[in-house]
Amino acid sequence: MELHILEHRVRVLSLARPGLWLYTHPLIKLLFLPRRSRCKFFSLTETPEDYTLMVDEEGFKELPPSEFLQVAEATWLVLNVSSHSGAAVQAAGVTKIARSVIAPLAEHHVSVLMLSTYQTDFILVREQDLSVVIHTLSQEFDIYREVGGEPVPVARDDSSNGFPRSQHGPSPTVHPIQSPQNRFCVLTLDPETLPAIATTLIDVLFYSYSAPKEAASGGTGPSSITFFAFSLIEGYISIVMDAETQKKFPSDLLLTSSSGELWRMVRIGGQPLGFGA
């Protein structure tokens, strides 16, 4: 298994819904004119609470500060697991990543952010945690750091060097979960056809908010939840949206699995991630 530390240096931001009007212009620029902003890592996720943005430093420059924009202090580095190490081909799904990357890091008290797209999964770690990350994961992974687009192997540090390898088992944590009724689809799009859906996308992102309907009966969760995720990372577009929302888009442009599978959401905690209270 290989772990690539990508070149993006990502800032994580939370944009409060009332401030959206202030950011429409820079967001449209980041969405549709990535060459202008030279932003190579852009992710926008609409949740019931806020808009969460993950952008690299080039993209961050486009966003003016305001009272509506909360910026996490840390700079995050992006990790990507790939499995083409010459041996047997292995899938590197979220479960695998959770077991082999997130759990060991949690044992060393390293917080991670995870971003899944149509194409792959990204694990974001704080820059200051990098040495711990490398130390923790170097046993299981060949670690490469991308410099100028070329992967450079990171020297394996075999000595424990003050980081004792955790011996105790995983500590159990209990989270409240909820699972809304609406179904989601994971899609991608040829970047060249992005202009064709631009108006629909702007409409969905900025002008279609309606307050969530409360569940009629006290079921396991609300009947639906507002969620829309758009990411444009290294030229690849990935969209996660409500199956109902998808109907607004032209059917021949959005690409998904031939099986047309739909996904249910399981929401854990339901608290904003590290922001706010």
Binding site: S82, S83, G86, E150, E192, S257, S258
Partner: protein, 875 residues
């Protein structure tokens, strides 16, 4: 193909067809328009070709890539990769053979939709189609489809499902690929490796990978950015090009860790890189927004040598049209031909002109190569009117041993072909100089010998300041000539001029006789006249007129001459001074000039350029006063130096002046051969140390080497070391004894008569006959010859083994110890060796070392070993 940027591809087999693809596929037919008018509706591609649109196919939207089916049949089958990852088979034109009908419209669908980046038909199994897709979390990015195993529509595989819902026409969907590769990765470019049907090279997201379909769990890969446009050199299957932004990387699959070289980075990103299919090692590259195609020629470097050496490449650009180029395609069979298409779909057909490489052999034959043609420049044999090139002349002269006659020095001009009066004069001058130096040395050793080689200029100068000898102007033809009054220097000058022989004899008689013998009557008559012997002059002219080769008019001249009168204002004088200019022969002309000259003024003789310098100088020595003579010689010397006229060596001698003169001669003619030999005669004067002279000599030696005249070169070196002992090379090779480590030739040098050429190379045996087979230092035996097994130092007796008998005779012909056949010789690699003669005959038939267990290919290690000296193959 993104709607705005068209791509272009040639049909692989129907070589007059190509397809332009942007939002639709357009099939064109190329026709030659050399002898016909442009047809209506045709598009002009170049001066002599035009394209006609045959058909358009717009069935497949969102095209991302197109690949033309490689088999002959069906001809117009294309695979189109779409933005949703589906691969559709489509066709162009009327070629609807029922056999393949159900291939058309077939779709190959990946599990998860994403862009199809590249397609590649397998060159060996024509039904295999590889598709490279963008990344999906868990899906594969390289899918290999079998378009149809047997072309039999009856056997529909289980995976193929006919979907009829929602569509009017039934489409055959294939969802199960033959192979799935590259999970959780993106594939940007693909090409099959011609080495094996099951090897696929793919440019993945951050690496180049070679997939082996025989074992899909294994792959070879190298991490790199250069993953775009992988393409295999069609002439060198281990060489692959790929690119990233503005940089092309060339890979050698046998040494896959890193690129063997990267080409100069372009400021704009590359869009296409393609090897020329008709020419080895020619790579064409195109960048965005550019109207030039850059070509990289790697034909002379098929393999990378060593680890770090980058093979040399020649870069050049071609500009097929004024507009930006969207894409280009090499023609599959026409040499160096390509077609380009611009964003607005104008097309241009052109051929990259091949670089011309020219080779000029040292023996003046000229060849050049262009493309696949080789041209030789042949000299027209019968055209003798043209003067031969100096290189040819020098080569012929080297063969005739020009310059090597050190006894009869004058004979060298005959060796040079006896056609150049300047060379004749030069060698006579050198001959006389040598002769009189020896003469002088005998008379008064160490006195004036050096003066002779310093030329007449110095000789005349040395007489300046001495008492002016009584010098009457010529006043009549009285034979009580004043030669007796000539001082020693003037006599020496006359001797150098060749007018008088050595010794005290001042009679020109012998010289006149030799001139008459050679048929130079005019010159002889003039010389006789200048020696105030008009009667002899007339007699010579009569002789000339009556001889076979002579001119009858000489009688007339003799008649005119006999009418000579002292009278200053006579009619004879008047007529002669005007009519003499109409005489063609310069000597006849100067005779009358002399007879009609005013007292003390001989310009008509002295400045008649057609008269040989030596005659004019001799004349001057006889009739000019010291100061006049000095001025005249000075002036003439400068004239000669400027013109590079070798006759002037008579004046300058082999001094610095002489080198100056020779310099302008070499500048004018390039004849370093004459310059080298001439200057060597001047030893031991300082001229040899002049760097120009050394330069000529070195150049002449190089020239002989280049002509493979190695023996001539050696002869020249020997000649040179005789005349200039300082040029003798130091011993470069020594044979040391295995036991004591001393040079075995050590004792040779103490024996003087052993021969210099022999001991100087340090490869001789001991000279003393008694102990020739042992080291002179420690008396231990010398090593044995690998062939005859006799200790070295013995003369070669006969050839061992089953060699031909004529070689035996050859080798044992001369048993002298210093013969080359007896020399030590050995291989620098395996250290085996023996008698040079034995080794030579062994390696005439073998490449391997004669020692039985040794497999050293001694002879092949010597790059010059198989070259034959050119002298031996000369006619």
């Amino acid at each position: 193909m993104s709607g705005t940027k068209p791509d272009i591809l040639w049909a692989p087999h129907q070589v007059d067809r190509f397809v332009v693809c942007d939002s639709e596929l357009s099939l064109y037919h190329v026709e030659s328009t050399v002898n016909s008018e442009l047809k209506a509706g045709s598009l002009r591609l170049s001066e002599d070709s035009a394209a006609t649109l045959l058909s358009i196919n717009s069935d497949t939207p969102y095209m991302k890539c197109v690949a033309w089916y490689l088999n002959y049949d069906p001809e117009c089958l294309l695979a189109v990769g779409q933005a949703n990852g589906r691969v559709v088979l489509t066709s162009l034109g009327q070629d609807h053979n029922s056999k393949f009908k159900d291939l058309i419209g077939k779709e190959f669908v990946p599990k998860h939709a994403r862009q199809c980046n590249t397609l590649a038909w397998n060159p060996l199994d024509s039904n295999w189609l590889a598709a490279g897709l963008d990344k999906h979390r868990a899906d594969f990015s390289v899918l290999i489809w079998d378009i149809c195993s047997k072309y039999t529509p009856d056997i529909v595989p289980m995976e193929k499902v006919r979907l009829s819902a929602g569509e009017n026409e039934t489409t055959l969907l294939v969802t199960k690929p033959l192979y799935e590769l590259g999970q959780n990765d993106a594939c940007l470019s693909l090409c099959w490796l011609p080495r094996d049907q099951k090897l696929l090279l793919a440019g993945m997201h951050r690496n180049l990978a070679i997939f082996d379909l025989r074992n899909t769990s294994q792959k070879m890969f190298v991490n790199t950015k250069a993953v775009q446009g992988v393409t295999v050199d069609p002439y060198f299957h281990d060489r692959v090009a790929s690119f990233y932004e503005g940089q092309v990387a060339i890979w050698d699959l046998r040494k896959f860790e890193k690129p063997v070289l990267t080409l100069t980075e372009q400021p704009k990103p590359l869009t296409k890189v393609a090897w020329c299919p008709t020419r080895t090692g020619l790579l064409a590259t195109l960048t965005r927004d550019s109207n030039i195609i850059r070509l990289y020629d790697m034909q002379h470097t098929p393999t990378p040598i060593g680890d770090e050496t980058e093979p040399t490449i020649i870069e050049r650009s071609v500009q097929p049209c004024d507009n930006y180029i969207a894409s280009f395609a090499w023609h599959p069979t026409s040499q160096n031909r390509m077609i380009v298409v611009t964003p607005n779909r104008t097309m241009s057909d052109f051929t990259v002109f091949e670089r011309i490489s020219l080779a000029w052999s040292p023996i003046t034959s000229l060849m050049w190569a262009c493309g696949r043609h080789l041209y030789e420049c042949a000299e027209e044999e019968n055209d003798n009117s043209l003067e031969k090139d100096i290189a040819t002349k020098m080569r012929l002269r080297a063969l005739s041993r020009y310059g090597l006659d050190t006894e009869q020095v004058w004979r060298n001009h005959i060796l040079a072909g006896n056609e150049d009066p300047q060379l004749k004069s030069l060698w006579y001058t050198l001959h006389f100089m040598k002769q009189y130096t020896e003469d002088m040395d005998q008379k008064s050793p160490g006195n004036k010998g050096s003066l002779v080689y310093a030329g007449i200029k110095s000789i005349v100068k040395s007489s300046l300041g001495m008492v002016e000898s009584s010098r009457h102007n010529w006043s009549g033809l009285d034979k009580q000539s004043d030669t007796q009054n000539l001082n020693e220097e003037r006599i020496l000058a006359l001797q150098l001029c060749g007018w008088i022989k050595k010794g005290t004899d001042v009679d020109v008689g012998p010289f006149l006789n030799s001139l008459v013998q050679e048929g130079e009557w005019e010159r002889a008559a003039a010389v006789a006249l200048f020696n105030l012997d008009i009667r002899r002059a007339i007699q010579i002219l009569n002789e000339g007129a009556s001889s076979e080769k002579g001119d009858l008019n000489l009688n007339v001249v003799a008649m005119a001459l006999s009418g000579y009168t002292d009278e200053k204002n006579s009619l004879w004088r008047e007529m002669c001074s005007t009519l003499r200019l109409q005489l063609n022969n310069p000597y006849l002309c100067v005779m009358f000039a002399f007879l009609t000259s005013e007292t003390g003024s001989y310009d008509g003789v002295l400045y008649e350029n057609k008269v040989a310098v030596r005659d004019r100088v001799a004349f001057a020595c006889k009739f000019l006063s010291d100061s006049q003579l000095n001025r005249y010689i000075e002036k003439l010397t400068n004239e000669m130096k400027e013109a590079g006229n070798l006759e002037g060596i008579l004046l300058t001698g082999l001094t610095k002046d002489g080198v100056d003169l020779m310099e302008s001669y070499v500048d004018r003619t390039g004849d370093v051969q004459t310059a080298s030999y001439c200057m060597l005669q001047g030893s031991p004067l300082d001229v040899l140390k002049d760097e120009r002279v050394q330069y000529w000599i070195e150049n002449y030696r190089n020239l002989l080497d280049a002509w493979r005249f190695w023996h001539k070169r050696a002869e020249f070196d020997i000649h040179r070391s005789k005349l200039d002992p300082s040029s003798k090379p130091l011993a470069q090779v020594f044979v040391s004894c295995n036991f004591c480590g001393k040079s075995i030739s050590y004792s040779c040098s103490t024996v003087p008569h052993q021969g210099r050429g022999f001991s100087q190379y340090g490869v001789s045996g001991s000279p003393t006959k008694s102990k020739v087979t042992s080291c002179p230092g420690c008396r231990k035996p010398l090593p044995r010859c690998a062939l005859c097994l006799i200790n070295m130092g013995t003369p070669v007796s006969s050839c061992p083994g089953g060699s031909k008998s004529d070689e035996k005779v050859d080798l044992s012909k001369d048993k002298k110890l210093a013969q080359f056949n007896n020399w030590f010789t050995w291989c620098h690699n395996c250290r085996h060796g023996g008698h040079a003669g034995h080794m030579l005959s062994w390696f005439r038939d073998h490449a391997e070392c004669p020692v039985s267990a040794c497999t050293c290919k001694c002879m092949q290690l010597d790059t010059t070993g198989n070259l034959v000296p050119a002298e031996t193959v000369q006619p």
